[in-house]
């Protein structure tokens, strides 16, 4: 049995601002809580910063639930799952909302298994009907379709929500959330995965970039990727890529944008020689402005683009570099 509560879960980054990253799921959570008739709580693993308090108040959170433990200081999947499971066992939330990210892909289903809840990833919407039935709409086939999953009976559900699925909207009346400390017992948890070599994060990450210039197979040759890098630099942005040119080794996989690459949400996404397959667009369709350069006027990318240039990117990119620098 679950309660009617809805809990938004965050962790990591020393409890610092999750600037702009939780506003959407808090908005979603408030709507779901209103429909289930339960409270909206925010569970954070790590310190409760002023930003968390403020954001929680703005979006109508009732309680900030707070867990801190030495075993959670650095991300450990086993400890995170155990802490969340202990919380869920005590509070029995009906809906657990998490913003989808790399570690969430592992934590969300593991948590669901531990607390015998349903789980849906890539969620774009959560609905509760008059009878209290919960359903989650998720992206499928890379974005070509949407699948609707109904949660059985009164079961709880862990929902991993896609970035930008919901437009953030502050609550009508701000709240002053109470902070509730929640003790967990992680003594028995021994992380089973030992990290031998940490990833070497180099420079700024694509998912935080304001401007991205991406290239695809239409570049024709690995050597031409330098045009993408040069234009990205001229515009003060970062270079991205479609999957085939990553698979072919033109650039390393940290540049891949898409369903199985980085999900980006820049102000400007410029795609050169990219067809616009749904799996690629899953990683950039949240961009404010998409510009496409493609020789094929029927290319799918033009359905998503705000501005289109029909032409050979190998001729246009050098001119764009010149024009951007002027």
């Amino acid at each position: 049995m679950s309660s009617n509560e809805v809990v938004v879960v965050t962790w990591g980054r020393g409890g610092e601002a999750f600037a702009g990253e939780v506003d959407d799921i808090l908005t979603l959570g408030r709507g779901v809580a209103a429909a289930t008739g339960g409270a909206l709580n925010w569970l954070t693993l790590g310190p409760v910063s002023d930003t968390i308090r403020q954001t929680a108040g703005t979006y109508g959170v009732a309680n900030i639930d707070h867990i801190e433990d030495a075993k959670l200081a650095e991300f450990s999947a086993d400890a995170t799952v155990a802490a969340l499971a202990q919380y869920c066992e005590q509070h029995s939330p009906r809906v657990v909302l998490i913003a989808q990210g790399f570690d969430v892909r592992l934590v969300a289903p593991r948590l669901a298994a531990k607390v015998r809840a349903g789980v849906v990833m890539n969620a774009a919407a959560v609905e509760v009907d008059g009878g209290g039935k919960l359903s989650v709409t998720a992206s499928a086939y890379g974005g070509d379709t949407r699948a609707v999953y109904e949660i059985a009976g009164e079961r709880a559900c862990v929902v991993s929500v896609l970035a930008n699925a919901v437009l953030p909207e502050a609550a009508d009346a701000a709240t002053t959330p109470a902070v509730r400390d929640f003790a967990v017992d992680l003594a028995a948890v021994d992380e089973r995965i030992q990290v031998l070599e940490k990833p070497k994060a180099e420079g700024p990450r694509l998912d935080a970039a304001e401007i991205i210039v991406s290239g695809g197979r239409g570049l024709g040759d690995a050597a031409n990727y330098k045009l993408i890098e040069e234009l990205a630099e001229a515009l003060g942005g970062l270079p991205g890529a479609s999957r085939p040119i990553v698979d072919d080794g033109w650039v390393d996989s940290s540049h891949q944008v898409g369903l199985t690459g980085t999900i980006t949400r820049p102000g400007l996404y410029l795609a050169a020689g990219i067809s616009g397959a749904s799996q690629h667009m899953a990683g950039c369709s949240a961009a404010k402005t998409i510009v496409a350069i493609n020789t094929d006027s029927d290319a799918s990318i033009f359905r998503y683009a705000r501005f289109g240039v029909i032409g050979d990117c190998l001729e246009i990119l050098p001119e764009l570099i010149r024009a951007a620098k002027s």
């Binding site: 086993d78 790399f102 892909r105 969300a108 289903p109 593991r110 669901a112 349903g118 849906v120 990833m121 890539n122 359903s135 989650v136 086939y141 890379g142 974005g143 070509d144 379709t145 949407r146 699948a147 609707v148 999953y149 109904e150 059985a152 079961r155 559900c157 089973r192 995965i193 030992q194 031998l196 070599e197 990833p199 070497k200 180099e202 990450r205 401007i211 999957r243 698979d247 390393d252 996989s253 940290s254 199985t260 400007l268 749904s278 799996q279 402005t289 496409a292 799918s300 033009f302 359905r303 998503y304 705000r306 501005f307 289109g308 240039v309 246009i316 001119e319 764009l320 024009a323 951007a324």
Partner: protein, 266 residues
């Protein structure tokens, strides 16, 4: 040493994409299945790479058997394909996947592994290209109480366990687990091999072991779906593309940059 690879049959995602692009992707009367009978069914791409990961482990001289298992409709070509590629055994759990959820699928796979002698390594795809969910492997890992390592580009045997290279947004991470593990494979592993003509002919005679659900020792809870897939629809994309015109690449570029500056995009 036993390696079990879990493979799912899916509709060819590129064909689905092409139908979507042509505006011809349609949903049947049940409100959830894609109607296009012409779309080929094949092994989920990441699962083919999971099998490739198993074969590469074997190639390095590790003494192991590779079992490929699929829960789904009567196995067609994907298990024959697995046999042609070098699987030692192929097994089919015949169920209607549309009526089941990830929890029940995972129960079937975990039940199969448990009742057939366990596994030192379970390899899965990072996600199925139809539902894109990527949850079955984590559920299997929880059910078998094995550590789960996601989104790997390489798996090697070593030190009484496995050494796995993961593809993270910050670059590669190398991790180790002792004992058994569930590992999910991503496309960064590289292209899977092709079967040879001779192995294809040999594989035609391979009969998959058909597994009865009743032999898997599942509890009522194991077999009870937690979510029901009730509906599928094709989202509409509202295009409002403004095409930039110009007589030369230079003119096109100048106009585009001017337009972006006008809108304060740059």
């Amino acid at each position: 040493m036993r390696i079990v690879v879990c493979v799912k049959e899916v509709l060819d995602p590129d064909a689905v994409n092409n139908y979507a692009l042509a505006g011809r992707l349609e949903i049947g009367d049940d409100g959830k299945s894609l109607t296009q009978a012409a779309i080929p069914r094949l092994m989920n791409g990441f699962d083919e790479q999971a099998l490739e990961a198993a074969l590469r482990i074997k190639d390095t001289g590790v003494e192991c058997s590779i079992t490929v298992v699929s829960a789904g409709p009567a196995p067609g070509d994907i298990l024959k394909h697995a046999a042609a590629l070098g699987a030692d055994e192929v097994a089919s759990i015949e169920v209607d996947p549309a009526a089941l959820d990830a929890h029940v699928i995972a129960s079937l796979l975990a039940g199969y592994i448990r009742t057939t002698g366990g596994a030192d390594l379970v390899l899965c795809g990072r996600q199925a290209s139809d539902d894109d969910q990527g949850v079955v492997p984590a559920l299997v890992g929880e059910m078998l109480d094995l550590p789960i390592v996601t989104i790997a580009r390489a798996v090697e045997s070593g030190d009484g366990g496995w050494r796995v290279t993961r593809v993270t947004p910050d670059g590669d991470e190398v991790v180790a687990v002792t004992g058994g593990a569930v590992v999910t494979i991503s496309n960064e592993l590289g292209d899977p091999r092709y079967p040879t003509a001779a192995s294809k002919i040999k594989a035609r005679r391979v009969k998959p072991t058909v597994v009865a659900v009743s032999d898997l020792g599942l509890s009522a809870d194991d077999s009870e779906p937690r979510v029901a897939f009730t509906k599928q629809f094709v989202p509409t994309i509202q295009g409002n593309c403004e095409f930039i015109s110009g007589d030369s690449p230079a003119e096109l570029a100048d106009r585009l940059i001017a337009r972006l500056r006008e809108d304060s995009v740059i």
